[in-house]
């Protein structure tokens, strides 16, 4: 018995004669956790989509457990024991959690009827194992992005597979859930399951992976044991050159109060929250999943019905009933749910960029030239990699879609910017560009509400951080001595007090 589970030989993939994956020959060992890293658009997702039968390679072959396999479709890959947690959710919104988890593989009673009770019980167990508070009978539509991610994970680990592929499963999870997930991965590995793990969070890659493969522009760069690659070295190999300081210098905001929220309440989700942001300030919002940060943002934007509270922009009180009211008042919003609420995947790049700000381009006929010009600005600024500006967004890599979504929010020229997971799935280099741009906007006088589950980036970007728990502000930390522990104490309810 050899210790190699998967061997790829000369795998290449072309989309309309553009080569996005070039001659990848690697071995994945039985029972290892293999990390794949690389810039946005490097070809990571394309590679694992080939391993899981979603794409067929243009060239090359795959050996699974010593035998050559032709993976014609996802079902064929599933049959030989490959399961995938895809980067973009693949859930039926109108069905509920357990129906999604058992979709196409429903449990049946001896009489041949659907075994609802069995599926619900099994789902409950899976959720317990993942430490996730998700009701098996809840409709997918009502779940937060993090909860949807948990459902995707549960779906993939429901049956023990031989090769488990995870494409950026932690982008919307907080430390707490990530720890549970890693413990689970190690347990599975102990049982002999091989895991392929894609992430832009290099620290995580370093802590959980045995070996790491680096891709750049579709080409293989290296495959080494994790111990041999420091985080800086990983970043350097991904990008191909040295990266300097990732966070821009912080500045204490001295400006006027530009944005003020008083006692905002959403029944059952946000319990009378108050805060203010000065012009030029980036106020961080940390907290665990379900703490109510996204709901707070959506309430401000008029997406959720508010039961109490007042909102002021530049001292003037607003009446926000629908998103258009918020946009008119100069508030811009980036949703954490990229594909569900952020971008239109069947629209071209420029049509997404101008989705909210279209009024600036139409008088009354839309000027395509102006749209393209502005789009090119963002493409340069965030290094958005797209086949062309006319390409539909579904043909961009996940991280590049995220950059387009951010560009769309910024293009309204707002006074107040609310970003929810702004760097979700974005590579180190692009993160740096996005941080710098947000800092620049703040320096120009914007008030920024910065929601993120990545503590490192909240701490790196914000002078002041509100930690939320169960819909309230559990605590506030500020100044140069913010520690991760302090934030987590507030987030988990070990410490209280504002």
């Amino acid at each position: 018995m050899s210790d190699v589970l998967v061997r790829t030989s000369g795998i290449s993939k072309e989309f309309s004669s553009v080569r996005v994956l070039d001659d990848i020959s690697i071995e994945i060992r039985k029972g290892e956790i293999l990390g794949i890293i690389g810039e946005n658009g490097a070809g990571k997702s394309t590679f694992i989509k080939i391993l899981s039968g979603i794409y067929t390679p243009t060239q090359g072959s795959i050996e699974f457990d010593g035998r050559r396999v032709e993976l014609r479709d996802a079902a064929a890959a599933k049959r030989i024991g490959v399961s995938l947690i895809p980067q973009e959710f693949n859930l039926v919104e109108t069905l509920n959690v357990y129906e999604n988890i058992f979709l196409g593989e429903e449990l049946r009673t001896r009489g041949g009827l659907l075994d609802r009770r069995g599926m619900i019980a099994h789902t409950r167990e899976l959720m317990k194992e993942l430490g996730a508070a998700v009701d098996p009978s809840a409709s997918i539509r009502t779940l937060s992005v993090a909860q949807k991610q948990m459902v995707e994970i549960a779906k993939a680990i429901k049956i023990e597979s031989r090769l488990l592929i995870m494409d950026e499963p932690t982008t919307v999870l907080t430390v707490h859930e990530i720890d549970i997930l890693f413990a689970l991965m190690r347990r599975l590995k102990g049982k002999g399951v091989t895991i392929v793990y894609i992430s832009h969070k290099l620290k995580e890659v370093r802590s959980v992976c045995d070996r790491v493969m680096v891709l750049r522009d579709g080409r293989f760069i290296c495959l080494e044991t994790t111990d041999a690659l420091e985080i800086d070295e990983m970043a350097r190999r991904m990008v191909g050159r040295e990266l300097n300081q990732i966070f821009p210098p912080k500045r204490k905001a001295e400006g006027e109060v530009a944005f003020r929220v008083e006692g905002l309440a959403v029944p059952g989700l946000v319990a009378g929250l108050s805060f203010e942001i000065r012009s030029g300030e980036i106020l961080g919002f940390a907290g665990l999943i379900g703490a109510g940060r996204t709901e707070l943002a959506e309430a401000i934007m008029g997406i959720r019905r508010v039961s109490a509270g007042r909102i002021f922009v530049g001292g003037r009180e607003l009446r926000i009933r629908k998103p258009a009211d918020a946009v008119k008042a100069g508030i811009a919003y980036l949703s954490e749910d990229r594909q569900g609420a952020g971008i239109i995947t069947s629209f071209a790049v420029h049509k997404n960029v101008t989705l909210v700000s279209l009024g600036d381009y139409a008088r009354p006929l839309i000027s395509r030239a102006k749209e393209l010009e502005k789009t090119r600005f963002y493409v340069d600024r965030f290094e958005i990699k797209a086949p062309s500006l006319d390409a539909r967004l579904e043909n961009l890599s996940g991280g590049n879609q995220q950059k387009v979504s951010l560009a769309k929010s910024l293009d309204t020229d707002p006074k107040v910017l609310i970003v929810d997971e702004p760097t979700r799935g974005v590579d180190v280099k692009a993160k740096h560009d996005i941080y710098a741009f947000i800092r620049e906007l703040a320096d120009r006088g914007l008030a920024v509400m910065f929601i993120s589950s990545e503590l490192e980036e909240v701490m790196g970007m914000c002078e002041r951080i509100v930690v939320m728990r169960e819909g309230r502000a559990a605590g506030q930390v500020e100044g140069g001595h913010i520690t991760e522990e302090e934030i987590m104490y507030y987030a988990m309810g070990i410490k209280e007090g504002v």
């Binding site: 989309f15 309309s16 979603i54 794409y55 934007m301 997406i303 629908k322 998103p323 258009a324 918020a326 946009v327 919003y333 949703s335 569900g340 609420a341 952020g342 971008i343 239109i344 995947t345 069947s346 629209f347 049509k351 989705l355 909210v356 279209l358 009024g359 139409a362 009354p364 006929l365 839309i366 062309s388 500006l389 006319d390 579904e394 043909n395 769309k408």
Partner: protein, 322 residues
């Protein structure tokens, strides 16, 4: 970069345009009579009435809806137009009043559909199935199941008129196609129609008033029905309460679909409706020339619609790669 095509055509149009060319060649081989200018103009004129409605229907379908009421709405508004013409004495002002009245009535009827679909949250299929029955029944009731006959020669002359040898209805069809194509492709409203049909939630988060956008698609269709109703009723100088504009909903929807707009919404083309309508007209014409039974024409039309959807799905798949 996708190459841009002249006349606001899109790549989606190429398939249906190709089908049109093939049909054209086949028809001219099948019958020497086909290529005569009079026959060609006749084909265009025949498809104009439902084609004009198809232009509005394209907006409804792109925004993710459907409007089954257009056929009976055409009969209803056509009948009212004739009543207005008769009532006001049949002169120039009477005809002008009929035009304005028909378009306003169309807009109001469309608004009624639109409000029920958006604010009432009833499925478009159900709402317009209901209004389809309502408009036909009202026409039958007012007309005692008989004919509405205009007393005005001027009205009838308008219906038979031509400009530069081309029937007025055909001019109207093309001018409206030009205007609505601009509305769909070059204005904010058109972009939002596609956005709402592609992903309602994203559109809502992008501060787009999705109810208003949807509602307006029905209003546009209603106005198109109004225009078509005046053209159709003046051409016959009468309206038959039971069968005028019967099956127009099918012809309009077929023109939209054959022209390359998917029933799933989110994208589509206005010029495609013109192409789709002409394809339907040419098929009917060819069947007539080959003296195929009129009763079988529906079968052929049905097969063409189904085939069009199959072909489009195939081409969409190959475009997405994978």
């Amino acid at each position: 970069m996708r190459k841009s095509l002249p006349f606001g055509l899109k790549t989606e149009n190429l398939l249906s345009l190709g089908a049109l060319v093939v049909l054209f060649v086949l028809s001219s081989i099948a019958s020497p009579y086909f290529l005569q200018l009079r026959n060609l103009l006749n084909i265009l004129k025949q498809v104009s009435f439902s084609g004009i409605i198809g232009l509005g229907m394209a907006f409804v379908i792109i925004a993710g809806g459907i409007d089954l009421s257009v056929g009976s709405m055409t009969a209803f508004i056509g009948a009212i137009a004739i009543l207005i013409v008769n009532w006001l004495g049949g002169g120039f002002w009477a005809i002008a009043a009929a035009w304005i009245g028909a378009m306003i009535l169309g807009a109001v009827a469309g608004l009624f559909n639109g409000i029920l679909v958006t604010k009432g949250r009833v499925a478009a299929f159900i709402v317009t199935l209901g209004t389809m029955a309502i408009f036909r029944s009202l026409t039958l009731y007012i007309g005692n199941a008989g004919q509405f006959i205009s007393n005005s020669d001027a009205y009838g002359n308008m219906g038979m008129s031509s400009v530069l040898g081309v029937p007025t209805a055909v001019w109207v069809f093309f001018i409206l196609a030009f205007l609505l194509s601009g509305l769909l492709n070059r204005t904010r409203y058109g972009r939002y129609v596609c956005a709402v049909g592609s992903n309602e939630k994203v559109a809502a988060y992008a501060a787009i008033d999705i109810d208003k956008i949807r509602m307006l698609t029905y209003v546009i269709t209603g106005v198109m029905v109004g225009v078509s109703a005046v053209l159709l009723s003046s051409r016959m100088n009468s309206v038959n309460s039971s069968d005028t504009a019967a099956n127009f909903e099918m012809d309009a929807i077929a023109a939209v679909v054959i022209g390359g707009t998917p029933m799933t919404g989110g994208r589509g083309t206005v010029w495609g409706v013109v192409i789709g309508a002409v394809i339907i007209g040419m098929i009917n014409n060819m069947l007539n020339m080959l003296s195929v039974s009129a009763y079988l024409q529906g079968t052929v039309k049905g097969l063409v619609i189904i085939a069009a959807v199959f072909i489009q799905r195939g081409s969409a798949r190959s475009r997405n790669g994978g």
